[in-house]
Symmetry: C6
Subunit: 77 residues, 6 copies
């Protein structure tokens, strides 16, 4: 496993950390499609002030959280 | 497990509480994208009075409820 | 389990009742986001006469039906 | 099981029939939201001539087909 | 199983063929909603030249690929 | 298994490579719908500078990542 990997594992200690990983996964694809950080920063206030954009962003987190939660067997123990 | 965690577990006693947790999960990502509560409050009447925005919000809850329900083995017992 | 719960269980006797529960789940999130029934009633003709709104509503039901169907082991027996 | 049920079972003999059931499930929610068939008929040419509407409709079928396929154990045997 | 079926099985020999089947499933629902091929051909350049339409189409394939991949146990062997 | 296949397997060594495969799966469907690379290149700046387009693209990656992660049993070992 690379020391440099941004995603060495899907395992997290807690559900909260799992949720944060889901957010990270959602943002990663955005960064891969638009690698220019200055443009992403300009876009941020656009969607952060639009209700539907925020809901859509929450949806992507929700889908990724399904994956992370399953990978952690829902932190059942 | 942190006493402060907003998400200490995905376990709930009942399906109804699980649904409430799904709503909380949906809102959390919105709050992480737009941390300014005053802006979120201004956006609320916009989407709460738009049919498609409400449906979209319901969709995010539905996706999160899939996760919570699976985590609780669908409250089968 | 509360006598008052709107969601005491995900179990239903038949697939058809499961589908009705999925519709109920979809509507519940709408009601939680827009609790004012008079506003919801005003919005209803808007989306009930728009093809894409109807498809979007059907999508939320489909996602919730996945959950209900899994909870009932797809009514296999 | 009611003789009148529009959804007596999620079981189908073949994948093709399962796909048809997924289409039926997608349309059912539309019919429950807009019960007036004359309005639905007026809406049909609107979305049947719009590329994104067709894709969106295909998406709802895809979600329902996931459910039907799982219910049939993917017709593996 | 009908010799004529467009979907005799969800089994494929390889992931690549599974992906092609997912594309076929996505297109089938479009064809069932808009059976007139001449209209579908007119719509094609519309969405094939629109970025969001292409992403939306990719999403439907992704959902169907989940189903096909599960049906093939992810071609693990 | 063809030497030429763009998708010989869903297995990857690490979660990070799995995520890259999910991106590849998302782009493949776009390429199959719009095979003309010059058009795709013209569309890229359109969606790469639109917040909602980026979120939508991230969503397709998320759905494909669910498939890849499941195929790798979430890289649990």
């Amino acid at each position: 496993m690379s020391q440099e990997s941004w995603l060495p594992t899907l395992k997290t200690d807690t559900p909260e950390e799992g949720y944060e990983l889901a957010v990270k996964l959602a943002r990663k694809a955005v960064g891969m499609t638009q690698p220019d950080e200055s443009i992403r920063k300009k876009l941020r206030p656009v969607y952060a002030n639009n209700a539907d954009s925020l809901t859509l962003a929450s949806q992507v987190v929700a889908i990724n959280f399904q994956t992370v939660a399953a990978a952690n067997d829902y932190w059942k123990e």
